[in-house]
Symmetry: C2
Subunit: 92 residues, 2 copies
């Protein structure tokens, strides 16, 4: 039996790493009149669908996927939410 | 009295818009052996701190900020979570 999981992955720069894009956005907002905005940090938000036998395996795969491909662990952190969306049983 | 809010903003491509980066990631994952991954969509995740008198004003500002600067409303959707992190009262 295969289960489908919807994963929502958040990749953020580690707090110690400078974020020039975030600084640029903050400066742009200031020029537009929004001087009440601080500490802008820009990261990635990735949605994907994963098929797996059970949730533990899905989490393990996702951990590897984040580590190998979606995030750069030297400068980025990641976390993810996983929800089951569908269960596919084999046709008898 | 000024309140500080932490905003978490999600900017995603509209479902009808093609996502070549997502397709590339999915293809890369397949080459790494993860052929159980589908529908990869890559968006932006932005964190910022906003100072405002009350939550309604903060939400209104954030709505304008997303619309004007963080998202391209023609091809992207956005949503945000807002939590109060600190209240600053004036020193008497």
């Amino acid at each position: 039996m295969q289960r489908k999981y919807q994963a929502k992955i958040f990749v953020t720069l580690r707090p110690s790493v400078l974020d020039p894009a975030g600084v640029a956005v903050q400066s742009g907002l200031k020029q537009l009149g929004y001087d009440n905005v601080e500490r802008v940090r820009i990261g990635k938000y990735i949605e994907l669908t994963l098929t797996s036998g059970d949730e533990a395996t899905a989490r393990q795969h996702l951990e590897q996927i984040c580590h190998q491909m979606l995030a750069n662990p030297v400068i980025e952190n990641y976390r993810f939410d996983l929800i089951e969306v569908e269960t596919q049983t084999g046709v008898v």
